[in-house]
Amino acid sequence: MPLYHNDDQTMLKDSVAPFVAEQAPVSHLRKLRDTADATGFSRDLWAQFTEMGLPGMLVPEAHGGLGMGHMEAGIVLEEIGRNLTPSPFLSTSVGAVAALAKAGGTQAGRWLPAIASGEAIIALAIDEGAKHRPDRIATTATRAGNGFRLEGKKCFVLHGHVADMSIVAAKTDGGITLFAVPKDAKGVTADPRRLVDSSLASHVTLDGVEVDADAVIGEVDAGGEILDALLAATRTGAAAEMVGVGQGAMDMTVTYLKERKQFGKLIGEFQGLQHRAAHLYGEMEVARATVMKAQQLLDEGSEGAKLMVSVAKAKAGRAANLAVREGVQMHGGIGMTDEYDIGLYMKRDRALAEFMGDVHYHIDQVARMNGY
């Protein structure tokens, strides 16, 4: 398969890009932020997403979705990134769907149709410390009665305070097991924190939470593979969103270079800025190609996907970070003002960079996967 969008994917982009730009531009984020919105996203907007079939893009057709791939989801995520749109799409429609579809069974049957119909918001309760270390999960699930008792603390759970269900990764006797923990489960408390990008992420406490045996996603002790699928999908999705953030910041900055005058010249005439902008262009193009390659390998079910996912998360992280830093610097003083959007791009980039493993984590993974 060639590494560019085919006709169907181009059509999808042509419908999603204007939709997101019109319905949820950066002003939409500002409005939620300035009204201290307690949900973290607009349910009206999510209803519009649902009308377009977006929440169930990756949900298999048998479960009421569109059965599309990561390449298609990436198209939506890039537009979400470009417009800084607050949305549960990444956690719910990409990460959770990847896990549930991989696992199948009761929980897939219960939640996938609800995701496709836009009714269910799902949170991913994976991290337990300030840095992403999914190989060191300490939350425990012990057998109790007909089911399990969960004990532990999770953090950086986006939408955790409003999610209808959270996917919780916990240690069981013989490995990792994933659980579908419903919102009203006794013993679950979600403490939402406002992050730098105005999103809401919860610290979730699981205090003797009792769940039935059928809350297990997939099989007991066999959650490792499902967690891998969840992580690969979410990381690739976050990388696609970062490409959108970086591209949005770069476009805004290049436009500014063509408008702002100093010393009687457009600042874009100065070679010192031209070369930096041109370098950034190259980095963004490489990041975009890398993310597409990861999406393609995931969609093909290729063994090489795991390496490319880490490469994509790291490369998109580096490129988007360069885009927002150069963006603020090249905007000069107004780049530091709240009124101007470029700073919002810097904030979103920082949050996405950290989500599901930062640049350093993934570069380390690249080394490990290459035997050093």
Binding site: Q274, Y281, Y372
Partner: protein, 393 residues
């Protein structure tokens, strides 16, 4: 079986029968490369036999039309031939600036007569060409070149000098940018072709920091060039030159701009040793190598996307400049890490163990990657102007 599958089978059988085992071993040094030309000495019979077999089949230039010495293969067939050659690790039967540079220029700008006359000897490896572009005073600002051809009716008399002429001392003919109108900067250059044995042509190899001399200074002292030996139109040689520079960058982008695209850390872990956690036993070097590897794998995806888009006309026409810039900077970084990883062993200049200072010489050679064929700074200028549309660039 589809036609392409049948072609693949045919190619596979032909290669099996015609590619000698010696020609399936990796290239070790410059001697192993077949450049052809009047004075070329084959290193062994296998090299000669392999060239002759490919010439007979048109496989030295498989995608050129048959009347010009090619095999007339379609792009898909050419790709299959390359894949099959790569599969058995077959060496290139013939490398030359005639194939890479002059051929594409003639195919685009040459007359029918010129194509037949010049392309066949290139395809057969009989004439070795060199490229006369840069001058001592005209590097990045190539169009300022001063070598002048005075019109003498049926011929020009050329005076001036060129620099960085690759293998000029070994070449038979030169394709050369010569000013033929001093009053018109861009439309005053003619793309001339002439014999390096013409009276008045002298060459002098330039010793580089790598200790090797792949480039020459070339001097023209009243060299007579017949008036029918030019490509395109008189005074419009800049169009040909620009086309070729684009072609060169495309070639670099599609091929080895990023150097060898494999993990560097994986290779060094073996030589370097690992700590008890199984990590390369130098945490800072490990981190730098891992960051580099990440960029290499990313660039590999970029190369795939670039070629997919370029072949189907989807790529921005200036995107090959971005590929050249990113790829050559990456390759320089690779060789810095190779030197760091090699430690004091990599410093050795002529010992047998160091294969004649291979690492150090390669490291130094790569510094030219971002200078030749347009400097990184020129690439960035082009991106700024043609892709980002920045003002005054």
């Amino acid at each position: 079986m589809s036609e392409l599958d049948a072609f693949r089978t045919e190619v596979r059988e032909w290669l099996e029968a015609n590619c000698p085992p010696e020609m399936r071993e990796p290239i070790r040094d410059e001697d192993d490369v077949c450049w052809g030309g009047r004075n070329f000495k084959f290193k062994n019979d296998a090299q000669k036999a392999w060239l002759e077999a490919c010439v007979a089949k048109g496989y030295t230039v498989p995608d050129w039309p048959k009347p010009y010495g090619g095999a007339g293969l379609t792009p898909e067939q050419t790709k299959i031939l390359k894949q099959e050659m790569k599969r058995i690790k077959a060496r290139s039967p013939l490398d030359s600036f005639g194939i890479w540079m002059l051929g594409p220029a003639l195919l685009k700008f040459g007359t029918e007569e010129q194509k037949v006359h010049y392309l066949n000897p290139i395809a057969r490896g009989e004439i070795r060409w060199c490229q006369g572009y840069s001058e001592p005073g005209s590097g990045s600002d190539l169009v300022s070149l001063q070598t002048f051809g005075e019109d003498k009716g049926d011929h020009w008399v050329v005076n001036g000098s060129k620099i960085w002429t690759s293998y000029a001392d070994k070449a038979d003919w030169i394709f050369c940018l010569v000013r033929t109108d001093k009053t018109n900067k861009y439309q005053g250059i003619t793309f001339m072709l002439f014999d390096m044995e013409s009276p008045g042509v002298t060459t002098k190899p330039i010793l580089l920091i790598s200790g090797n001399s792949p480039f020459c200074e070339t001097f023209f002292d009243d060299v007579k060039v017949p008036k029918d030996q030019f490509v395109g139109e008189i005074n419009r040689g800049w169009d040909v030159a620009k086309y070729l520079l684009g072609h060169e960058r495309e070639m670099i982008s599609g091929g080895g701009a990023g150097g060898d695209m494999v993990s560097i850390g994986g290779a060094f872990a073996k030589a370097f040793g690992k700590n008890e956690a199984g990590e390369l036993d130098d945490p800072i070097l490990r981190a730098e190598m891992a960051a580099f590897d990440t960029d290499v794998f990313a660039y590999r995806a970029m190369g795939e996307r670039f070629m997919d888009m370029w072949k189907t006309g989807r790529a921005h026409p200036a995107s090959s400049n971005m590929m050249k810039y990113v790829g050559t900077e990456l390759n320089k970084r690779r060789h810095e890490l190779v030197m760091s990883g090699g430690g004091s062993d990599a410093l050795e200049w002529d010992s047998e163990e160091s294969k004649g200072g291979a690492r150090a010489r390669s490291w130094l050679r790569t510094k030219a990657n971002s200078i030749e064929g347009g400097t990184s700074e020129v690439m960035l200028n082009v991106i700024a102007k043609r892709i980002l549309d920045l003002p005054g660039a």
